[in-house]
C-alpha cells in the first residue's frame, strides 16, 4: 500500500514532531547525547509504528547515526529511555538489544571478510546452543539446531541471490553484495525491528532497485524497518513515514509528501537562502530576514 493511499494506516496521523502512533513498537523519550559542547542527539519523543518503513532523513551531522548507535547500545546516552513493546532497552549492551529483537546494519558494511558468505549467515542465528562453552564440545547437543540454522541460511542465500557466492570469502563480494549479505545476516537473527544505516550508500543504481525490493519485502512480512537514507527519491518512494532530524532534534515527521514539502525540512537541507529561492514569490521580501535564521547546518 502506498503512503499516498487514503487508507494507509498513517493517513490519519497528523504530521507533528513527537506525535503518538496508533500502534507503536518503539517508543523513545528524552534521549540526549553530547560530544563536548555539541549536542549530537536531543530527541524529546518519538514513536515508531509497527510493521512499517520509517525513514530517518536529515543533513550530514544531524545525528542520525548517533541516534542509531544509542538505540542499539553501541553508544551510551547521557539521558533518556526507550523501549520495544514496553521492554526497556536503555543502558543495555548491544548484544542484549539484538537479542530483544532490534538488529542493525552499519553504514560501513561489516561483512566478515575472512569468513565464507555462508558462515556469515550461520553466525547470525540467535540462541545457538553450540555457542555456549558448556555445549560446544558435544555436537549431539547442537547438531540438530545447526541443521535448522543451515536450512534458514540456505533460504536467505537464495532470496538475496548470493547462492553462487556461498563458499567464497565474504571479502571477495562487491560493495552491493556486502549490503545484501549484511541485510540477510541481520534477518538470521529473526528481529522485530531492523535498523538499516544507509543501505543504499555506495551501491550501483541497478542494485538499488533490488535492495529496495528487499526492504519492502521485509515490511510486507511484518518487520518494522527504520532506515537512514540520503537519497530523497528512495525515501519518497518506499517510506510509510518520514522523520527528519536536524542538529540532533526531530524537526518534522509525517507522510513522505508532507515532510518533503515542509519548509523546515527544506531549510535544514538546503540552508535558508536556497529555500527562499525555491519559493520565488517570497524571495524579494524575505531577503533581509534571512540573517535571523540559523546558519546552514549542512556545511
Amino acid at each position: 500500500m502506498h503512503a499516498d493511499d487514503p487508507n494507509h494506516p498513517m493517513a490519519a496521523v497528523s504530521p507533528e514532531p513527537g506525535i503518538a502512533k496508533p500502534d507503536p513498537i518503539l517508543t523513545v523519550d528524552a534521549v540526549s547525547r553530547s560530544f563536548g559542547g555539541l549536542k549530537a542527539v536531543d530527541v524529546d519523543h518519538l514513536e515508531v509504528q509497527r510493521g512499517l518503513i520509517t525513514s530517518m532523513i536529515g543533513p550530514n551531522g544531524a545525528g542520525k547515526t548517533t541516534f542509531f548507535n544509542l538505540l542499539t547500545g553501541f553508544d551510551d546516552a547521557d539521558s533518556g529511555t526507550w523501549s520495544i513493546d514496553g521492554t526497556r532497552l536503555d543502558g543495555k549492551p548491544p548484544h542484549v538489544v539484538a537479542r530483544s529483537g532490534v538488529v542493525r546494519t552499519f553504514q560501513l558494511t561489516k561483512a566478515l571478510a575472512k569468513m565464507s558468505v555462508f558462515d556469515n549467515l550461520m553466525l547470525g542465528a540467535a540462541g545457538q546452543q553450540g555457542e555456549r562453552l558448556t555445549h560446544a564440545l558435544f555436537p549431539f547437543l547442537w547438531r540438530k539446531q545447526e541443521a535448522e540454522v543451515k536450512e534458514r541460511a540456505e533460504e536467505l542465500l537464495d532470496r538475496f541471490k548470493l547462492g553462487h557466492m556461498r563458499d567464497e570469502y565474504a571479502g571477495t563480494l562487491s560493495g552491493g553484495q556486502r549490503k545484501l549479505l549484511e541485510m540477510a545476516r541481520a534477518l538470521m537473527v529473526r528481529p522485530e525491528i531492523i535498523l538499516l544505516d544507509e543501505p543504499m550508500a555506495g551501491v550501483n543504481p541497478a542494485l538499488v532497485q533490488s535492495l529496495l525490493g528487499h526492504v519492502t519485502a521485509l515490511r510486507d512480512e511484518g518487520l518494522t524497518v527504520i532506515f537512514i537514507e540520503h537519497d530523497m527519491d528512495v525515501v519518497m518512494g518506499i517510506s510509510d513515514w518520514v522523520v527528519c532530524l536536524a542538529q540532533g532534534s526531530i524537526i518534522s515527521e509525517g507522510l513522505p509528501r508532507a515532510v518533503g514539502s515542509d519548509p523546515k525540512v527544506i531549510d535544514a537541507y538546503l540552508g535558508t537562502h536556497l529555500a527562499e529561492e525555491a519559493t520565488p514569490a517570497d524571495a524579494p521580501d524575505l531577503a533581509p530576514e534571512s540573517t535571523a535564521h540559523p546558519e546552514e547546518p549542512t556545511s
Partner: protein
Amino acid sequence: MDDLIRVFADALRGALGPDAAAFAIAAVGLNLHFGFTGLLNFGHVAFMAVGAYTMAIVVDAGLPLWVGVPAGMLAAVVLGLLLGGTTLRLRADYLAITTIAVGEIIRIMIRSRALEDVTGGVFGIQGVAADFFALNPFSPGNYGIWRVTFSERQLWVMVVGWTIALLCTLLVWALMRAPWGRVIKAIHEDEDAARALGKNAILLKAQSLCIGGAIGALAGMLLALERSAVDPNQYLPQQTFFVWTVMILGGAATIKGAMAGAVMFWFIILFAEGLLREGISQGIIPDWLLTSQQMFAVRFVIVGAMLIGLMIWRPQGVFGRREEVMIGAR
C-alpha cells in the same frame, strides 16, 4: 660428515624432546588467544608461571600431583578472569600492554623476598616431580632409534607432553568447529558485527583467554616436571616470544600449526647452534668472526632472520591459508 650427522641427530632429538612438547602446548594456548580470537597476549609466560608455581606449591605442601595439576590450571583461569575483567572491554592494544606487564609482575612477585616462604624466592622450589616420575612406566635405560635416543625420564616427559599437546590441539579443534568457534572468528574480525548480532563478545573473549591460559599453564607445569623444579629464571619475557615464534612459524589460526611449529623451532635453533659450534671448534669459522661465547646469541639472530623471511614470503606460516591472511591486508 660424521659431525654433520651428529649435529643433525642432536637437533632432531631436541625437536622431539620435552622442551619442544612444552612449547607446542603453550603455542596451542596462545594460538587460541591470538590466532583464533585475536587477543594480543604478550604475557603468555605469566600463565605458564602461575600454572607451574601453583602446582609446585601444592605438591610441595605434600598434596598429590593430581591435585596440583588441576590447581595450576584453575590458577591460570583465575588469572585469565582478572586480566579479562579489566581489559577485555577496552581495545585490543590495552590487553597487549597489560599482558606484558602482568608477565613481569608475576615473575618479580615469585622471586621476591616477601614471598620466599611460599615460592622459594630466587631459589624456587625443588623436587616437585617425585610423584610424576613414580608413575614412569619405562625402566631405566636409553630408548630410541639411530642416534636419536632418550633416557627413560626424558621419554616419560615426552610421552606425557606430546599426549597433552595432542589433546589440547583436539580440544581447540573441537571448539573451533562448533558454533562457538564461529563466533570467536567473527569477534576476531569485527567485534561490533558480532555484538550487533546478539553475541556476547566480552564473555567469549574471556572464555578464550581462560582456556588458552589453562593450556599455557599445562605447558609451564610440564617444564617444571621435566626439571623437577620451578625457578623464576625459567619465566623470562623471552619465553613468551619463543611461544609466539612457534605459533607464527606453524601458522597462526591453524590447528596443527602449533605442534609442527614447536618441532621446527627447536630443530632450527639446535641445528644452527650445532653447526656454529662445530664450525668454531674445527676452525672453519675463524675466531675473529665468532667465538663460542657469542654463538649462543647468534643462533637467535638466525631464527630472527628466518622469521623475517617467513613473514615476507609466507606470512601465513607453514600451514596457514594464504588467501585468509591476504584478505583485508591491502
